[in-house]
């Protein structure tokens, strides 16, 4: 057995005046790896007041986005060994840039508001819809790969400095990934309106290609690339 040191961000607005870091220790089996979520569940057995979100525990629902040793990710699919080789102290904080509701739970409203803004649904003004379904060729469908897989965990947007400074105006990597997903969907007819909505100095153009988003996405997606495509679409229209 070896002893693992874990430091967790704690804040309960009902009783605490200010957030603080609380140190925990956990006995773990030598030579065995475990996910950060399992560590948190063990800590909750020690200290039932610890609050965090989780649901699927397999990287599908996107509810346990956390900042672990300074990097955003999903606790359920981040092994301890991935954090400083699992030897040093583990520091767990909530996702940066969003208001903390309690401990590791953040208020995601701002994030969802940006998602809502890009109209994340198919718009088609076809007067005579097809009897059964709107077909796509395999090539058209392939364009959605790398875009539709996003689980809205907010790891990317909350690692983006542009989103920290202007969370009310900059759509953020997650929202823009979805924006592009609908911009290139062959069944969507609102491309021009969508581009009109993005053609200001903040929504898209606050992205300066820092690529923090790509660095943290637990699904291996590339929002920066999608944002680049949106910028090209806007430029092609302007020139």
């Amino acid at each position: 057995m070896k002893t693992l040191k874990i430091s967790v961000y704690r804040y309960n607005p009902d009783v605490d005046n200010a957030p603080y870091m609380k140190d925990y220790t956990l006995e773990v089996e030598e030579g065995r790896d475990m996910m950060v979520l399992d560590v948190l569940l063990k800590l909750k057995e020690q200290d039932p007041t610890l609050a965090f979100r989780r649901s699927c525990r397999e990287g599908v629902c996107g509810s346990d986005g956390l900042n672990m040793n300074g990097k955003n990710g999903l606790a359920c699919i981040t092994p301890l060994s991935a954090l400083n080789g699992g030897s040093k102290k583990v520091v767990i904080r909530p996702l940066p840039g969003l208001p903390v509701i309690r401990d590791l739970i953040v208020d995601m409203s701002q994030f969802y508001k940006q998602y809502e803004k890009i109209k994340p649904y198919l718009i088609n003004d076809d007067k005579t819809p097809p009897a059964r379904e709107r077909l796509q060729s395999p090539e058209e469908r392939a364009k959605l790969d790398g875009l539709y897989e996003c689980i809205l965990c907010a790891c990317c947007s909350t690692s983006c400095p542009s989103f920290w400074w202007n969370p009310d105006k900059f759509v953020g990597p997650a929202g823009l990934l979805h924006a592009y997903r609908f911009l290139i969907d062959s069944r969507d007819t609102a491309t021009e309106q969508r581009l009109d909505d993005l053609d200001d100095a903040f929504s898209v153009f606050r992205c300066h290609g820092i690529m923090n988003c790509v660095n943290v996405c637990p699904k291996g997606l590339n929002p920066t690339k999608a944002i680049g495509h949106i910028k090209s679409m806007l430029l092609n229209r302007a020139i």
Partner: protein, 118 residues
């Protein structure tokens, strides 16, 4: 969606194009001046004055100064809207910077335009 569409250009896209186009002009101007310093041997007063006496150089210089104006205007606005959250303070700094940029432009025009060769 966002109402503050842009600062200098007509839209975010327009700002984006302006800031990049002005960067290219400034880079070309800097490279040109560098190569002039390196190749003009010896670098005399006459060589320097005659360079600025040509119409092409006057226009190139004013283009570069216009680029500084546009690039600085948009760039400072972007940085300020990121880091200065107090709108009064932000407006004040933006105002000061823009006045300085316009002063540079005007001073540049008054200095460069009357230059005659020797």
């Amino acid at each position: 969606m966002v109402k503050v569409a842009s600062t200098f250009g007509r839209s975010g896209t327009h700002d984006y194009i302006l800031i990049r186009a002005s960067a290219i002009i400034m880079a070309l101007y800097a490279i040109f001046l560098m190569s002039f310093f390196v190749t003009a041997e010896p670098l005399t007063y006459a060589a320097w004055t005659n360079l600025f006496a040509s119409l092409g150089m006057k226009i190139f210089t004013m283009l570069a100064l216009t680029s500084v104006l546009i690039h600085g205007w948009i760039g400072i606005w972007q940085v300020l809207t990121d880091y200065v959250k107090h709108s009064g303070l932000r407006a004040f700094i933006q105002f000061v910077v823009c006045v300085a940029l316009m002063a540079y432009w005007l001073a540049g025009l008054l200095v460069v335009w009357p230059v005659e060769g020797v």
